[in-house]
C-alpha cells in the first residue's frame, strides 16, 4: 500500500463512520451516566420499541466525576437524565440544584428504606453494599476463623491481611471509611484507623488493584485474604468462575458493610423533559429492575424483584449494613478524607 491508497482508505473510513448509527425513532432521550452503568441490549431495545424513544447513553468517568460535570454544565446540561448519584454524593447534587422533581410511576413499589430524598428530585434505582470480602479457602487452610467485625481486624492474628482502597480516589474506599465512622463515633474512627494502620493495612488506589492484584481470592491470586469490595462480589466469583464451581470461594463479613443507594434524576434544562420522565419510569419498572443484578451487580430498588439464583445463594442482601445521613457525609467528606490521609498515608 502506498501513501495515496492509505489516504484514500482513510477518507472512506471517515465517511463510513459519519454515516453509521442513524436513529430509528423520531423521539430521543439522552442518559448521562458513569462508566459502570450497564443494561442488557435486549431490555433496552424492548423499551425503545415500546416507547418509540431512542436512548442515547453518554458516559463521563466515575460517579463523582459525572456529578461534577453535571454541576459544571448546569443550565446547559449534557443530556436529559443523570443516573448514578449515590447517597455519598446526594447532598452535593441537591445543594447544586441540578435536578427537577419528578414522582416516578411505580415509586411506591420501591423499598421504603431507599427513599432518602423527600423532595423527589432523585429517584432510587438500585442499592449495593460495600463489604469486606474474605478468601474462604485461605482461612480454612490455615485453620483460622475469619474476622467477624471491624474490631476483629485490629487483632494481631489478622495483621497484614487486609487491603483497602484510598477513599480520596475510590468510591468503595470512601464507603468503607464511612462504615468505620458510622460504627465508631466522631473521634473513635481516627483512633480505629491508627490501630488499623499499625496492624499493617494495605492501601491501594482503586478497586481494580485491590481486588485483581492484591486479593488472594481473585483470579490473579494476590497475597491478602481480606479486601474491601462489594456484597455481590462472591456471587460474581461463582457466576464467572472458570472452570465452573459450585461452592462459594469468597464471602462477606456482614457487619462491615456500608449501604450505597444509587439514584437518577431529570436534569434542569433538559431538552426532552417528557421523554426524560418516561426514562425514569422505565428505570424503576419491573423490566429494568430485573436486569439490574446481572448487568451492574447491585440489588434492585424495587421490592420483591426476583434475584438470580447465584445471588440468593452466595450474595444474599446484607442485613446489618450501616449508613450515614447524606447531609452529614456532604458536610464532612473533605475533612474526613483529609484526616484519614494524615493518619494512614503520612
Amino acid at each position: 500500500m502506498d501513501s495515496r491508497t492509505f489516504i484514500a482508505a482513510s477518507a472512506i473510513a471517515l465517511f463510513a463512520m459519519s454515516c453509521s448509527s442513524a436513529p430509528t425513532n423520531s423521539k430521543s432521550v439522552t442518559l448521562v451516566t458513569h462508566d459502570s452503568f450497564a443494561i442488557s441490549a435486549s431490555v433496552l431495545k424492548a423499551f425503545e420499541r415500546e416507547s418509540g424513544i431512542d436512548v442515547r447513553v453518554l458516559k463521563g468517568g466515575d460517579a463523582g466525576e459525572v456529578l461534577n460535570q453535571a454541576i459544571l454544565t448546569k443550565g446547559t446540561p449534557l443530556g436529559d437524565v443523570l443516573f448514578g448519584v449515590d447517597n455519598t454524593f446526594l447532598a452535593r447534587a441537591l445543594d447544586a440544584n441540578i435536578f427537577v422533581p419528578y414522582k416516578a410511576l411505580g415509586l411506591d413499589d420501591l423499598s421504603p428504606a431507599l427513599h432518602i430524598d423527600p423532595t423527589h428530585r432523585a429517584t432510587p434505582i438500585d442499592w449495593g453494599d460495600v463489604c469486606i470480602n474474605t478468601d474462604i479457602a485461605w482461612f480454612v487452610k490455615r485453620g483460622i476463623d475469619p474476622p467477624n467485625n471491624l474490631t476483629d481486624l485490629l487483632d494481631p492474628r489478622y495483621r497484614g491481611l487486609l487491603v483497602v482502597e484510598n477513599p480520596a480516589t475510590s468510591s468503595p474506599g470512601l464507603a468503607f471509611l464511612l462504615a468505620t465512622i458510622a460504627k465508631a463515633d466522631k473521634h473513635g474512627w481516627q483512633n480505629y484507623w491508627e490501630r488499623l494502620r499499625d496492624n499493617d493495612v494495605l492501601v491501594v488506589d482503586g478497586w481494580e488493584q485491590a481486588y485483581n492484584t492484591e486479593f488472594s481470592g481473585s483470579a490473579s491470586k494476590g497475597s491478602r485474604p481480606l479486601v474491601v469490595s462489594y456484597a455481590t462480589s462472591p456471587a460474581a466469583e461463582v457466576m464467572f468462575a472458570d472452570p465452573p464451581i459450585t461452592v462459594a470461594a469468597t464471602g462477606n463479613i456482614d457487619t462491615t458493610c456500608f449501604r450505597q443507594i444509587e439514584m437518577a434524576g431529570i436534569l434542569k434544562g433538559a431538552k426532552h423533559p417528557k421523554e426524560a420522565r418516561a426514562l425514569i419510569d422505565f428505570l424503576v419498572s419491573e423490566q429494568f429492575q430485573k436486569d439490574v443484578p446481572t448487568s451492574m451487580f447491585v440489588y434492585p430498588a424495587r421490592s420483591n424483584t426476583p434475584l438470580p439464583e447465584a445471588f440468593e445463594q452466595f450474595a444474599p442482601p446484607p442485613t446489618a449494613s450501616s449508613s450515614l445521613p447524606p447531609s452529614e457525609i456532604s458536610a464532612n467528606r473533605d475533612e474526613w478524607i483529609e484526616r484519614w490521609t494524615e493518619i494512614v498515608l503520612r
Binding site: L58, T73, N212
Partner: protein, 536 residues
C-alpha cells in the same frame, strides 16, 4: 546561504501563512480556548480576577513538597530513561539484524498499555508501591520515545564525517562528543523534553505503581477538579504546572540549540551497519536490557491471558453481561479512532513541522513550538472539563460528539509528529538543495524532491507513533464525556472492574490483543513507502 534562499523562494508568502495557520487554529480552538475557559471559571468566577486563592494555595507547604517531588522524580526518570534508551536507539536505528523492525515495533507497545494492566504485570514481578516501581515504569513507558525520536535522525546520519575524524586521530569518545552528539542534539533535546513532560505530568503510574503515599501536581489537579470540583485550587495548580512546563521547554530549546549541524543525510536503508566484532556485544547488551525491562512485563500479560486456556479469548467474542456487543467489536472502533486521529495529527503536525523549519523569525517559531508542545504539559482533566464548558453551543456543540475523542488523541500525538519531523528536516544539508538547483530544478521541484520525501518519511514514523497513542489512549478519554462507544482500553478497564476469573482472563486477553494490534499497526504504517522516499 544560497540553499536557504532557494528554499525560501519556493513557498510563497501565502503558502507559509497557511502552513502556520493550520496548527495555530487547531490548537487555539481545541486546546487554548477550553483551557482558558476552565481556568477563568476557577480564577475569576464572577468576572473579576480573585487573587486570594492563588496566595492561599501558594502558602500551603504541602504544595511545595508535592511540587518538589514532582520535579525530582521527573528529572531522575528522564535521566535514567535517556541513559538506558540512547544506546538502544543507536542499535535499533543503525544495526542490520534480523527482527529489527519487530524489535522496534515491540518497544513501542508499552506506550499504549493501560497503566492498570502494566501495574498488574509489575506487581506480579514483585515491583510495586515504591519509588523504584515509579522509575522503572517510567523507563518502560518512555523507552520508545527516545528510540523513535533520536533513532529517526540517527538512521539518516552519514558516518563519513566520523570516519574522517577517526582517520585524523580522534578517539571514539572524542568523535562521539564532537561530531555525533552535536548532530543528534535537536533530536535528543526533543526526546528529553517529551520524556520529561510525560514524567512530570505522570498520573496512572504515580497512583497505581507508586501507591497512595505519592502525589504529584497532576494527581492533585485530578483530585481537586474531578473529585472535589474545587476549580479555584485546580486553576492555581494548573498555572503552576504550566509555568514549570514552559520553563522546562525553554531549557530544552536551549539544549537543542539554534545551530543546525551540517551533516549529510543518507537514506536509512542504505545506512545500516553489519553486526560484526564488538557490535555483537553492543547488540547483545541492548537486546538483553529490552528483554528484561520491556519484554518481561509484557510476557507476564501474555502468559496470564492463557491462564484459562483459550477461554479468555473465546469470551471476547461473546456478549458478556454489561456489554451491548461482544468485546471484540471494540477492535474495529479503536482502529477507526486511531485512523482519524493519525490522519489529523500528521496533517496538523506536519504543517507545523514544515512551517517551523521555514520560519525566519525565531521568536515566532519558538512560540509555535511551545504551543504545539503544551498539550503534553497540561492535565488531561483540565482539557476534558474545559471541553465541557467551551463546546456547549453552536457551531462548536462538540462536547458529547464522538469526534471529540480522535481530536483529543490528536492533541497528544501532534507534538510527536512535529518533534520527529523537525530534527530530520532541519538536518537536511543545504548543499543537497543547492545540488538539485544546480542540476536545473526550480525551487518548487527542489522542495518536492528533497524536503518533501524526507519529511514524508519522518511523517510515516510519526504516524506509527500517533496510531499507537490513539490505540492505547485512555487517560484523556476518561475525562471526556463520550457516547457509549467502546474502545479496546475501555473494554480492558471495564473487564477489570468486574470480579470473577472469566472477566480477568478476558481482560488479559484483550490486553494481549491490544499489544499485537499496536505492534501490527506500527509495523504496517512503517512499511508504507512514499513513491519519492528513496530519491535523495
Amino acid at each position: 546561504m544560497d540553499g536557504d534562499r532557494v528554499a525560501m523562494n519556493f513557498s510563497t508568502r501565502v503558502g507559509r501563512q497557511v502552513l502556520i495557520a493550520i496548527p495555530v487554529l487547531f490548537l487555539v480552538i481545541f486546546f487554548v480556548w477550553p483551557v482558558l475557559s476552565i481556568l477563568r471559571l476557577g480564577l475569576a468566577p464572577e468576572g473579576a480576577l480573585d487573587l486570594a486563592p492563588l496566595l492561599d494555595v501558594l502558602n500551603d507547604a504541602t504544595l511545595w513538597s508535592v511540587a518538589w517531588f514532582t520535579l525530582w522524580q521527573a528529572v531522575l526518570s528522564t535521566v535514567i530513561t535517556l541513559v538506558i534508551a540512547l544506546p538502544g536507539a543507536y542499535v535499533l536505528s543503525r544495526y542490520r539484524f534480523r527482527g529489527r523492525g519487530l524489535a522496534r515495533a515491540l518497544v513501542t507497545v508499552p506506550f499504549v498499555l493501560p497503566t492498570v494492566v502494566v501495574g498488574a504485570a509489575f506487581t506480579s514481578l514483585g515491583v510495586s508501591r515504591s519509588l523504584t516501581a515509579i522509575l522503572l515504569a517510567h523507563v518502560f513507558f518512555n523507552y520508545a520515545i527516545v528510540v523513535r525520536t533520536v533513532g529517526s535522525l540517527w538512521s539518516h546520519i552519514d558516518d563519513r564525517e566520523q570516519q574522517a575524524a577517526r582517520v585524523l586521530g580522534a578517539g571514539r569518545v572524542r568523535t562521539f562528543v564532537s561530531i555525533t552528539l552535536p548532530t543528534l542534539r535537536p533530536a535528543i533535546g526533543a526526546a528529553t523534553a517529551i520524556v520529561f513532560l510525560f514524567c512530570f505530568t505522570s498520573f496512572g503510574v504515580i497512583l497505581i505503581l507508586g501507591g497512595p503515599g505519592y502525589a504529584t501536581i497532576e494527581t492533585e489537579i485530578y483530585r481537586q477538579t474531578a473529585q472535589h470540583l474545587n476549580l479555584e485550587t485546580a486553576a492555581v495548580l494548573s498555572l503552576f504546572q504550566l509555568g514549570a512546563v514552559i520553563a522546562a521547554l525553554a531549557v530544552s530549546n536551549r539544549m537543542s540549540g539554534d545551530r543546525i549541524a551540517l551533516s549529510t543525510l543518507r537514506p536509512a536503508d542504505q545506512n545500516t551497519l553489519p553486526v560484526i566484532g564488538r557490535r555483537r556485544i553492543m547488540l547483545g547488551v541492548n537486546l538483553f536490557v529490552i528483554a528484561l525491562l520491556i519484554g518481561l512485563p509484557m510476557t507476564q500479560l501474555v502468559v496470564r491471558s492463557f491462564d484459562g486456556g483459550l477461554d479468555g479469548y473465546r469470551g471476547l467474542t461473546r456478549t458478556t453481561f454489561g456489554f451491548a456487543e461482544p468485546p471484540i467489536s471494540a477492535v474495529w472502533t479503536s482502529l477507526q479512532y486511531a485512523l482519524i486521529a493519525t490522519v489529523l495529527a500528521v496533517f496538523v503536525g506536519g504543517s507545523a513541522a514544515f512551517a517551523l523549519v521555514r520560519r525566519r523569525e525565531r521568536a515566532k517559531g519558538r512560540l509555535l513550538n511551545l504551543l504545539v508542545m503544551l498539550p503534553l504539559g497540561i492535565s488531561a482533566v483540565t482539557v476534558g472539563f474545559g471541553f465541557l464548558v467551551t463546546f456547549d453551543a453552536a457551531p462548536f456543540e462538540l462536547r458529547s460528539s464522538p469526534a471529540i475523542i480522535p481530536i483529543a488523541h490528536a492533541l497528544i500525538a501532534i507534538p510527536f509528529v512535529v518533534w520527529l519531523m523537525v530534527p530530520v528536516l532541519t538536518a537536511i544539508n543545504p548543499r543537497q538543495r543547492e545540488a538539485a538547483a544546480v542540476l536545473g530544478a526550480n525551487p518548487s521541484r527542489v522542495w518536492w524532491e528533497i524536503d518533501f520525501p524526507i519529511g514524508l518519511r519522518a511523517a510515516l514514523v510519526a504516524a506509527g507513533f500517533a496510531a499507537a497513542i490513539s490505540l492505547g489512549e485512555f487517560g484523556a478519554t476518561l475525562f471526556i464525556v463520550r457516547p457509549d462507544t467502546v474502545t479496546l482500553p475501555v473494554v480492558i478497564f471495564r473487564l477489570l472492574g468486574r470480579p470473577g476469573q472469566e472477566m480477568y482472563s478476558q481482560a488479559m486477553a484483550a490486553s494481549t490483543l491490544l499489544m499485537f494490534l499496536t505492534a501490527g499497526s506500527v509495523l504496517a504504517i512503517e512499511r508504507l513507502r512514499s513513491p519519492h522516499a528513496t530519491v535523495f
